[in-house]
């Protein structure tokens, strides 16, 4: 068997195309929505209201206690039996956002709790309300603490979006699968897709380091 170099080069196009039009927008949209959701859930979890806190805890428990693939299938294949039919893209974005929301909520909660109580008090003593103190004093400090763990969540998400191929979203891995099925060159196609995922994650890791350095500018080294 000769190595099929033509296929290697010709298949990079659709694979990278799938990353640009599928994997990357899916990751960005899900992460943005998921992060907003996570902040809300973290605040509910920290709320003195026991009911709100319990709701948040239940949500996090369900998300972390069930496989992402099952969550994805419940939304795409399960909901239609309740009369809710969603297209592949919205299904994927909802599933991944909910998933990020659950994991990142715990990260954000821990980060908020890591800011010393004296910072809240200093905010109050200059006249700030709780929400004002949270936004201007606490969250900027919590953000710095949560960059490394949230970067992990983000990088995991990039790879997890490959699961969307199973609900017919056209993204990096689904393109690779289709070419592989057609050409029967499974090794080449799957290694190629692995390589593209890896490169994306390398770029993100570099971005993470840069962000950490930027946010570290006010901390003693």
């Amino acid at each position: 068997m000769t190595f099929n170099w033509d296929l290697v080069w010709s298949s990079f196009g659709p694979i990278i195309g799938g990353a640009v039009t599928g994997t990357i927008p899916l990751t960005l949209a899900s992460f943005a929505i998921g992060l907003a959701l996570a902040l809300l859930v973290a605040l509910l979890r920290l709320s003195p209201n026991r009911l709100l806190s319990a709701v948040a805890r239940f949500y996090v428990s369900v998300i972390r206690g069930t496989p992402l693939l099952v969550q994805l299938f419940v939304i795409f294949y399960g909901l239609p039996s309740l009369g809710v039919k969603l297209e592949p893209w919205p299904s994927a974005i909802i599933a991944f956002s909910l998933n990020v929301g659950g994991y990142a909520a715990e990260v954000i909660r821990a980060a908020i709790l890591s800011v010393p109580k004296g910072q809240w008090e200093a905010g109050h003593t200059i006249g700030m309300s709780r929400p004002q103190t949270l936004v201007r004093i606490i969250l900027p400090q919590a953000a710095r603490v949560s960059v490394p763990p949230l970067s992990n969540t983000f990088i995991s998400l990039v790879k997890d979006t490959s699961l969307a191929s199973l609900i017919l979203v056209t993204e990096l891995f689904r393109n690779a699968q289709q070419i592989a099925a057609f050409s029967q060159e499974f090794m080449i196609l799957y290694l190629e897709s692995a390589l593209v995922y890896w490169v994306i994650c390398l770029v993100l890791s570099t971005g993470q380091s840069a962000l950490e350095r930027r946010l570290d500018r006010y901390v003693a080294h």
Partner: protein, 275 residues
Amino acid sequence: MSPTEPSNAPQGNSGLVLSARDLAKAFGSNVVLRGIDIDVRRGQVVALIGPSGSGKTTVLRSLNGLEVPDAGTVTFGDADAGTVRGSGAGLTLDFAGPVGKREIAALRDRSAMVFQHYNLFPHMTVLKNIIEGPLQVQKRPRAEVVEEAERLLARVGLADKRDAYPFELSGGQQQRVGIVRALALKPQLLLFDEPTSALDPELVGEVLGVIKELADEGWTMVIVTHELAFARQVADEVIFMDGGVVVERGPAAEVLREPREERTKQFVKRLQHDV
């Protein structure tokens, strides 16, 4: 909340910035305040001293709403006490009933706290630390606030640290910024919670020097401190607390030099031995 006149208020309380009555507070089963009264007149410096656990810090924090007493009242200023901030009107909080956010906010409006551990905002430069409250809370014009901040920084000898981050400063410098942050709010009353306790001994002097200057300028202050020599120097009145009650109070020289109560004698003696 209806304004109430403290039952034992001095007649014609003009010049009275703060008057607290019967402050009581327990943390669970641990009773820390058992009915504390404090009066502070305009320009007066009151030093709260006492062993740790005596409740002196809780009293101070209650005056700023960082601690909410279980009972008692805090009354702020009569109309003409307003050295500064717009609302000169009196304010009384009665902690026996429920106290809302708005009342606590009004209380905080009138005083500013300097913390033992400075509690500067680490993600903001020195200047931003100082102008945050005046700008975000008091909504004063930026140019005025920045100019004021720079003037105050120069006064405490930190003009060149305007754009530094707190971690780049020594403890003494950080505390001086903490004091400027409080001053920039133009409060009626300055509260100091053991302002030099976290400092290396050689840095204590620069901070006490600044506080002394403020006292000389006529700022009204309540200071929780272990520095008895300093208290004697700047305080008009010294209040010695122990076990959640005021054991003795009076002019600084009297209380610190010739205490009447046995507990005060022991405390003063012990602390002076330490020094």
